[in-house]
């Protein structure tokens, strides 16, 4: 397994390089313009100057190689400097955002906490409610519980978050005034009060996202459980006199987890990617909002770096999923 992991990681390097090139070319080719935000009052010559100041004067291979160097060499050096107070990266240009003219990684670091708390929490909550619902729905297939579960999750999945989010805001922020409609990213949790405040502002976005995630995961959980409930080993487990709970939760569940692990692992990079619409509705300003505003502003360094980080996460999480397959099902071996 260790070998498998190392081999896959080694293989990941060319894969990722290729992915980064494709992303770069895609961004190059796509018709957006970093200066679209600049008002029409700014004359073309000035725009041209601004474009050159962004480094857009160079041909793309040079910019791509420069970015590679910055990503893989300058940034790590910079972090080393930060950590140990050395000065390797002195005078080296870090990756700079077109929009804010600040280092891309600093902005990402700023955004990471809220994305992780809100989106991450919603993912955890989503999984925590999806798995029991999926299990119970399958075990009691076509019972009223299953029917309601199906109903709610399909509604939850088919209603876009731009709609459910606003409904929640209107009910709970405008009418009932229970929760704030605007997420305060500057809030620091230092004591019980601020913790409560943080909890309050997380309730709505987390609910919206969790519902959406839960709907999807629970459907896969249910179908996978249904496939396994009829297997012979379940009969053996029952013959041992185990309670239904153990039979289902231990024996069937573990065998049913592979497609669910796939779904969850595929969804995890999205946690870091943020939930674009939900973040916008609740003004969470996490990585999703960062990405979308960068894309709209055609902020190539920002989009490229963010997307590339997601690519790394995707590669890592598919690897983790593959490893988990092996852990869940010992018959699947990698060696």
């Amino acid at each position: 397994m260790l070998n498998f992991t190392i081999r896959r990681l080694l293989l990941a390097i060319p894969t990722l390089l290729f992915i980064s090139l494709v992303i770069f070319l895609l961004l190059e080719a796509s018709p957006g313009d970093p200066l679209a935000d600049v008002p029409l009052t700014v004359p073309p010559e000035v725009r041209e100057r601004m474009r050159e100041a962004l480094g857009l004067g160079d041909p793309w291979p040079i910019r791509y190689v420069l970015w590679l160097k910055q990503f893989f060499w300058v940034e790590p050096l910079h972090w080393t400097d930060q950590l140990f107070g050395t000065s390797f990266s002195e005078g080296m240009q870090r990756i700079i955002s077109f929009q804010s003219r600040s280092p891309v990684f600093d902005v990402i670091a700023q955004r990471l906490p809220q994305t992780l708390t809100v989106v991450g929490m919603s993912y955890v909550v989503g999984i925590l409610i999806a798995i029991p619902i999926g299990i119970l729905s399958a075990y009691r297939q076509y019972s009223w519980f299953d029917q309601i579960g199906t109903f709610v999750s399909m509604i939850g999945f088919s209603m876009p978050t731009f709609f459910t989010g606003v409904v929640l805001i209107i009910i709970f922020a405008v009418n009932l005034q229970w929760f704030p409609s605007v997420y305060d990213t500057t809030l620091e949790v230092t004591d019980w009060d601020s913790f409560l405040q943080q909890a309050r502002q997380m309730v709505m976005p987390v609910t919206v996202l969790a519902l959406y995630n839960a709907a999807q995961i629970s459907r896969f959980m249910r179908s996978s459980m249904l496939d396994n409930l009829g297997q012979d080993y379940v009969r053996t487990a029952r013959a041992k006199g185990l309670s239904e709970r153990v039979v289902v939760l231990k024996h069937v569940l573990r065998n049913s987890l592979i497609p669910v692990v796939t779904v969850i692992a595929l969804g995890l990079p999205a946690v870091f990617g943020g939930a674009i619409i939900t973040e916008q509705v609740f003004k969470v300003n996490g990585l999703g909002q960062l990405l979308i505003s960068a894309i709209h502003g055609n902020d190539i360094p920002m989009v490229l770096t963010l997307t590339f980080i997601f690519a790394i996460l995707i590669v890592v999480f598919t690897l983790i999923a593959d490893i988990l397959y092996g852990v869940l099902d010992p018959r699947i071996r990698y060696d």
Partner: protein, 545 residues
């Protein structure tokens, strides 16, 4: 008393990405920047210039403007201190000029310094700006929120190619304004506190300020007018009934200020047909098959009910207009003919011009059908307008196909994209534009023959309609030389009419204001369309119930 009113919260759903307006040029950055940075002089709500960091506005009378109109001299106030406590001097002004005019800096406000040959510090409190030619209106550099003064001490290292590396400076500039930054999170949140060195010891009334970014216009308006979490929301352009619904909550209201922004339809006078080879589409080499007919253009304009469009799309934040230049007052032509919709008249006009209705109700002449592609950027109000206008045009026998383009593509000037405003691969397109400051002359100058976008200028020209009239070109040359303000305005009005009612190359629709919502407890707000919206943030205060 300074700081007595606690905290004020502003929501800007398009979040500022930097505090330095020289590096962005976007309105949101200018608004954010003007919380901290100040120009020498600003505009008030009427568009009148007034002194901020200077003792008086230079003029011919007080000698501030030289006789030959080639230089302007600013007398700085001597009681101004930067927020770090150091004094504000002429050196800072000179530096700011150098900063923006540096050839490698990519300064987005470079146009403000057009024609400036040098800026010199005559003495610590006097600055002279020299121009290459006579300037009847020299108030461009250092006037208005777009070109505030940066502190030399802070930005000295950030000049030219170094400009983008100065993140700390760009995010936390030292200013002379009412507030200073305590924390800047790009595209997210700015926290500010009252500037202890601000020249008026009683101001600002608020001790701290939070500027929150993100979300959408409706959410921002809601947080001011319905939940009361915020005091001020910038750019809450929403459907009038939605706003009315929110105002009913009684917590706040939306107000509008009118500058020079006009939503209009540009008519393509050249042929955008995709059957033409690339490089010749929408160029003057091929005149448009039917939009070159003045009657058609006029009919298109007559068919539109501008008042209704305003009612549906903008409410109080818009006025129907027939002008390309709607302000300042002296420049606004009394062109009101188009304000009443006249479908019948338009039909008659087309009949007369020989455009006869075919079996499907679409007019045609010599095998040319009046069938058009109408494009605009993605925006709910514009899409409503498109639908309505399409309907009206169908009533005069013109068929319209609608198309929308993502704003970042439409307004981007990527020469490779077929969907940009400048390429204009459509028959008509709608968008809004305005001019800077109070001088419309350069704005009018965009429509000379040589400024039509074409492959020759990498599609960067500004004469979107491909309007070309020698008479007009001549007037553009002339107007810069006219010193007398009234005469200039008169010529401006004439040019405006040539573009609009005479030729209908541009069909103005709505004179748009900028709408912003503010809480009923926030006092001192005076919306200003000529300058940054937060121009008088120092005067804001909390209304005590």
């Amino acid at each position: 008393e300074r700081g007595s009113d606690g905290q004020v919260n502003i929501i800007m759903w398009q979040a500022p990405s930097t505090m330095n307006p020289y590096l962005s040029g976007g309105t949101k950055e200018i608004i954010a920047g003007s919380l901290v940075l100040e120009p020498l002089a600003g505009y008030d709500t009427e568009g009148n210039i007034f002194p901020r960091l200077v003792t008086e506005i230079p003029s011919l009378e007080n000698g501030g403007i030289s006789e030959d109109l080639t230089s302007v001299t600013w007398k700085l106030r001597d009681d101004i201190k930067w927020s770090d406590g150091t004094p504000f001097t002429a050196e800072d002004v000179v530096f700011t000029g150098e900063y923006c005019m540096h050839p490698e800096g990519g300064c987005s406000q470079l146009a403000k310094f057009e024609g400036v040959t040098s800026i010199e510090a005559v003495d610590p409190h006097t600055v002279r700006v020299n121009f290459d030619s006579p300037r009847p209106d020299p108030f461009s550099a250092f006037v208005g929120g777009q070109s505030p003064i940066l502190q030399k001490a802070q930005f000295e290292q950030c000049i030219g190619a170094n400009a983008p590396t100065c993140t700390e400076q760009n995010f936390n500039p030292v200013g002379t304004g009412a507030f200073r930054v305590t924390e800047f999170l790009t595209n997210d949140t700015i926290t500010l506190e009252a500037n202890p060195e601000y020249r008026d010891p009683a101001k600002p009334a608020f001790a701290t300020m939070l500027v929150k970014g993100g979300g959408d216009a409706a959410g921002a308006a809601r947080s001011v007018m319905e939940t009361g979490e915020f005091d001020y929301a910038w750019n809450t352009q929403l459907a009038p009934d939605v706003i009315a619904g929110m105002e009913a909550a009684g917590r706040g209201k939306v107000s509008a200020a009118f500058g020079s922004l006009v939503e209009r339809i540009h008519v393509n006078l050249t042929d955008p047909s995709s059957s033409l080879p690339e490089g010749e589409r929408s160029t003057r080499a091929h005149p448009h098959p039917f939009l070159t007919d003045p009657a058609v253009r006029k009919a298109l304009s007559m068919a539109i009910d501008r008042a209704l469009l305003v009612e549906i799309g903008y409410g109080p934040a818009g006025q129907p207009t027939c002008n390309y230049v709607p302000a300042p007052e002296a420049w606004a032509s009394d062109n009101t003919e188009c304000l009443t919709q006249d479908i019948e008249g338009a039909n008659a006009l087309l009949d007369e011009a020989g455009w006869v209705r075919g079996p499907d109700g679409i007019r045609e002449k010599d095998g040319v059908r009046l069938s058009m592609l109408f494009q605009t950027s993605v925006n709910a109000v514009r899409q409503d307008f498109q639908a309505l206008i399409k309907q009206w045009w169908s009533e005069i026998g013109v068929e319209t196909e609608l198309k929308t383009v993502d704003a970042s593509v439409f307004f981007g000037s990527d020469a490779g994209s077929p969907d940009t405003l400048q390429k204009f691969y459509a028959d008509v397109q709608m968008y809004a534009d305005n001019f800077d400051g109070t001088n419309p002359a350069p704005y009018l100058a965009k429509h000379t023959c040589d400024k039509a976008p074409s492959p020759a200028n990498q599609w960067q020209g500004e004469g979107i309609s491909r309007f070309c009239d020698e008479e007009y070109d001549r007037m553009v040359d002339e107007i810069e030389g006219i010193v007398d303000a009234d005469e200039r305005a008169a010529m401006g009005r004439k040019m405006n009419d040539m573009l609009t009612k005479d030729s209908n190359a541009i069909i103005p629709i709505v004179y748009r204001g900028t709408a912003s919502a503010h809480s009923n407890t926030l006092g001192g707000v005076a919306l200003n369309a000529w300058d940054s919206e937060t121009w008088n943030v120092a005067d804001w205060y909390r209304i005590q119930e």
